[in-house]
Amino acid sequence: MATKKLVIDPLTRIEGHLRIEAVIENGVVKDAWSSSTMWRGIEQILVGRDPRELWYWTQRFCGVCTTVHSIASVRSVEDALDIAVPLNAELIRNLMIGIQAVQDHVIHFYHLHALDWVDITSALQADPAKTSALAQAIGQKYAVGVLGNRPYAKSSAQYFETIQKRVAAFAGTKRLGPFANAYWGHKAYKLPPEANLMGVAHYLEALDWQKDVIKIHALLGSKNPHPQTFLVGGMSIPVDPNSQNAINADMIAHIRELLVSAKNFVEQVYIPDLLAVASFYKEWGAIGGGGGNFDFISFGDYPTQSAVKHNDKALWLKPGRVTAADFPTLHPVRPEDITEYVTHSWYSYNGGDDKGLNPFVGETKENYTGPNPGSGKYDYLDTDNKYTWVKAPRYLDRPVEVGPLARVLIAYAQGQKEFKGVVDLVLSDLGIPASALFSTLGRTAARGIETLVTATKNLEWLDMLAANIKAGDLRVHAGEKWDPATWPKECRGVGFHEAPRGTLSHWTNIRDTKIANFQAVVPSTWNASPRDAKGQRGPYESALIGTPIADPEKPIEILRTIHSYDPCLACAVHVLDENGKELTTVKVL
């Protein structure tokens, strides 16, 4: 038997530092290990700080999903202090969350994932006239389809010729910069040259588009990355139709223009591209599903009324859990059913590394046992023991996938019309059954489905905001508990947020007006998790098993499945308290 252990490190086109080790036997992945190789210890740094600035610190967990930790942090402190956030602030947050999701998913598709499916070098062989015909045919197909959008305007032969010239001039320099040394020409690339040229053109279009639509974050949040108008209790961007220093009619018009531009791009470019590319790779509807070894959860998001608690009645996306075994049966989710293991992570628990702890009573002590290469280099991790900075979160002791696929499956199971219509369109267009959603292809398609639904929904949040301002409500902040002197001596709260990459939760303990303990369970901790005490693999690890590898020197198939999760590792690694402080009070949601 031909057995080979391969290592991909750095695993590029992700955020953070990820390493995959995999055993290949007879051309198929037999086993896999996911490792995060960087740790910053921010939670430890947070102890003793002002909870009102927690959001500013945790925002630095990640500059890609740049709003998400701020949202989870302010919600955790608001939960701890029983603060009801004004409706204007909730809607402003929804707009920032919504455009973040749309922009982030489009960047992921074109700039982080597309090069696994699109061969740039093949684009040089394309006939621009044929590419134009292809683009127009795709445009027409979806113009008359359920989406009802117009074809994308940039589809002439001349346009594609200009793009091709640009690529040719670049290739002619022989210095390919970020496009050098990739798996170009690999037989796993299946698109015809014309489709590859279209992909390259849209890679460049999307690069221009993303910087414009995210100006909504600058308008509502001062800047992007790392917007700076979040507050515990609301937002610091004022609302006043009669001021030039606040959200007024002019700014709402500007935001509307950007939201429409975002929606148009998703409808006219992203979704048609997604469906066109997917039609060449349907076999990936049977790869990367994980064989039922993990479940799917979402804790819901997008509140549409002023509320204290993460209350599912006030949320647009409803929480839930589904499993591959009994889909589409819907199960509930509860915060107390979350535990984290460190059996194979570089931490240790006082009570032994084989037990799972709920994040509210979590403890962590850094315990690095990996290689120490000095100025040299190590070859393999000790995967029988500890091998990553990521912990292993489990829901009811089961590994869980979070993210767009989980949310789409749950919304589908709930029969939520906005999602069901688009899911059915995608399935019928590709001619695949709903069961094929549990796959690498399904994961990538679900991200597109969610983007389309969210891009449409964003305009509703803006209409609601305008209507609320029209009704005379100018409140953006609940200031009653701004002064720490009004706080209880001790309290704790959890903030949930459905980030682009999945369920995020921040668990904050406050004592004597300072942060006493903080824990984050982030999307990539769920997805990139290592094995737990029972030896159950994390989702990446399970999803890779059974994947055919044509050439172990160029394991593009591994990249396809790992990238389908949109890994974001910097925030997945954490520790809270060197001494594993005991928590004295427990407040369950």
Binding site: E15, W57, K165, G172, T173, S375
Partner: protein, 365 residues
Amino acid sequence: MSREKGILKESTLEAYLESRGVSRRGFLKFCSAVGATLALPASFAEKAAAALTADNRPPVVWLEFQDCAGDTESLLRATRPTAAELILDYLSLDYHETIMAAAGHQADELLYQTVNNYKGKYIAIVEGAIPTAKNGIYCMVGGRTAMAVAQEVCGNAAAIICVGTCSSFGGIQAAAPNPTGAKAVMDIISGVPIVNLPGCPVNVVNLTATVVHYLTFGSLPALDKLKRPLFAFGKRIHDNCERRAHFDQGQYVEAWGDAGHRDGWCLYKMGCKGPSTFHNCPTVRWNDGQSWPVQAGHGCVGCSEPGFWDTMGPFYDRVPNVPGFGADVTATKIGLGLVGAAAAGIAVHGVAKSLQLKATDGEEH
């Protein structure tokens, strides 16, 4: 592809730009805009245009260590030039983990090809801090520690540009108690010119201007003692702030969302650190000039100052002893009583506080 070869050999600006689908007018407009950021005369635009079109793209490697990719995302928000132009036309971005198509050992090869083939001639851009505790095991890339990678890659560069506060000053992971021994690049690398472009994240306008300055003049811009370019960090935020008139008039926001807040009054009492921060936010702003924190209604937190995580906190407490105080304002309005509160906050982390940074004195590297 053969018909493209001629274009590459032509040296005229028009042909070069045409091959990239850019108009001459648009290109010169960009050069002028960069010149304005650098505060250089109009003649700079022609010089920069010539430098940028000579097809002498410098090799650039972009390293990510203890980072959040926020500076990379900032790069993607570039407008003049756009990220695509920067990556394809002006630089040869040979290594950048978040963007590059190659992975694993093929990616690694690219990094060391550049280091070996262009020794002393490439630019190293660094994002993120470098952990030094326990021999650097807290950040490993391709089986090597960030320390080892930095020593080799930065140590052989022509120049190092540190993007963001983490690589410039250590950043968030270096805040007390700094569990991983995180350090700035300038604390572990010597003998190679370094430019620090702090900010959380870096404002891509300042990165672009630094790169264009280097390509045009073959040297780095004038720096202050903290190795920050004077063109971007030479002036105090408070002195260029659009809300400064309200400060001088004693018109302060007292509560989030109050009438003063809605009307754009001064955020000093809400904790704004503009009086202690040197950065060009008020003039260049963010995301193609859309806004910046103070414009949007939240105070500055001083993100481009060394150790700001410890020295500027708590972020919602006032700055004591504001320099350049307007004659119209009485001392009581500054709230001297809060000096103690701020000091107590800092004592928690046992970090020395240095709010009154000296004005820059133009020390060149």
